[in-house]
């Protein structure tokens, strides 16, 4: 391949500029890069030229174009084959189709004693708190609260979590989950939760709590997930090893 220099076509030069910024982290994984219009304006070039510059990077898998949202930087992928993991697996009656996550709240806050305790950090450390509602086939399935230490994922606040999953983000920052401790409980949904999950008479929900650790033992995530008991169940493999 030829070196890209000032004699190369403009779209190729822009492509290398964007690639360089992805490599250095100026454009962070999970975060949208400047819009095509903004890039066109900055460099005094045609929008179609910007588009062909980015198309190459989309094809290479470095960028991801989301209709109506923009162009996002994709970080390292982690392969996750659930068949190769033990533990509870959530299943949806009739199969999981058209999964969709709606982010209800996303904030950076002080951990406080409770979440410091759950995450093994200091109460004065900051955590990201994410509250999300997960849908399958247009119906709400679970309401989840997720707590993540800010220190491990400094850019999380800028990541569009309706585009990238937290698993994606963990992979981007080289903190792949290694193991998790999970419990299941049954609790009664309070009125507000019942409304969000569109529960009828039956207020019993399956509470799935999960602590996720990376290989060095640090807790990377604490999650509480309230699941509709009429549409979800959990499966687990057992061995008498």
């Amino acid at each position: 391949m030829h070196e890209i220099d000032e004699n190369s076509p403009i779209f190729m030069q822009l492509r290398e500029v964007v690639r360089e910024r992805i490599t250095t982290g100026e454009y962070a994984p999970g975060v949208a890069i400047p819009s095509e219009n903004a890039l066109a304006q900055t460099y005094g070039i045609n929008r179609l030229t910007v588009r062909s510059a980015l198309d190459g990077l989309v094809k290479e898998g470095l960028l991801k174009r989301i209709q109506g949202k923009g162009v996002f930087v994709v970080g390292k992928r982690i392969e996750r084959n659930l068949d190769y993991l033990t533990g509870f697996h959530k299943a949806i009656e009739g199969g999981m189709s058209n999964p969709y996550v709606k982010i209800l709240e996303k904030e950076r806050r002080r951990a406080g004693y409770l979440y410091a305790h759950e995450l093994g950090i200091s109460p004065d450390d900051d955590v990201f708190f994410i509250k999300r509602l997960c849908y399958a086939d247009g119906k709400p399935i679970s309401l989840e609260s997720v707590y993540v230490p800010c220190e491990l994922f400094p850019n999380l606040m800028d990541v569009d979590l309706e585009v990238f999953s937290l698993q994606d983000v963990y992979g981007f920052y080289g903190s792949s989950p290694d193991r998790a401790w999970q419990t299941l409980d049954i609790v009664s949904a309070e009125p507000k939760m019942a409304r969000m999950l569109e529960l009828g008479e039956n207020r019993n929900v399956l509470l799935f709590t999960c602590y996720t650790y990376r290989a060095d033992g640090r807790t990377i995530e604490y999650m509480q997930s309230y699941n509709r008991s009429d549409s979800c169940f959990f499966t687990v493999k057992v061995t008498n090893g």
Binding site: Y84, A180, T183, L184, V236, V238, T239, N240
Partner: protein, 244 residues
Amino acid sequence: MSSREKIAELIQSFIIENKLQPGDRLPSERELCEIWGVNRMTLRNAIKRLEDLGVLESKVGLGTFVAKPRIVRNLQDTLGFSDAVHAAGGELTREVVFCKLVEANKFAVKHLHVMLASPVLALTRVDSVNGEKAAIESVLVNARNCKGIEGHDYSKESLYGVLRDSYGIIADHGSEKIDVTSLSEDEADLLGYPVGTAAFFQEGLMLNQEGNPLEYFMNVILPKRIILGSEMRPFAGMGEFDNA
């Protein structure tokens, strides 16, 4: 975050910050309302929430206490459940309510994959943790090569122990499904809990080392007494398991 959630977090933080232990009493509702500047109603809602989550325990006339952690039944634990309860400082007792060698009916054919009328052990036990009824365990076991299997005392002996020691059969691996049920009249009767109480329904199939169905089980577990746990990790020796 709702005010109820905020107060619930304050209460849990108070317990951790002040290193309160199970059985320790929380300050009175009036004191807590004063400390945090919240109304009584919101505080009570938060306490109720934490009781439901097994964090607190209210005793009429005595106050609100930090609850003893519930027993977690780790579904991947290689220890038997009895040993696991013991390790958690509790005691598991089992009462046999049904134990008979029966002929496989349509239900057994469907779930245990045996021939109609072949011998099947039907065993139902009620488990108690520290003397409080906690679960009903019902199993169907393929008893084709297990003469006399119904003669053991399953309040003392473990089923897997009997299969292994008396018949050389190993319950090796399997899979199970967990969802929510509400207690039927019979179940409510056995557990001494109201009809309709929410409980785990755990159902699954264990296979022997050759991969043939050995045991079909259906457990009804009270979440007030036992919660379920599982460790997620890359599966050791997964290749063999997946081909089984």
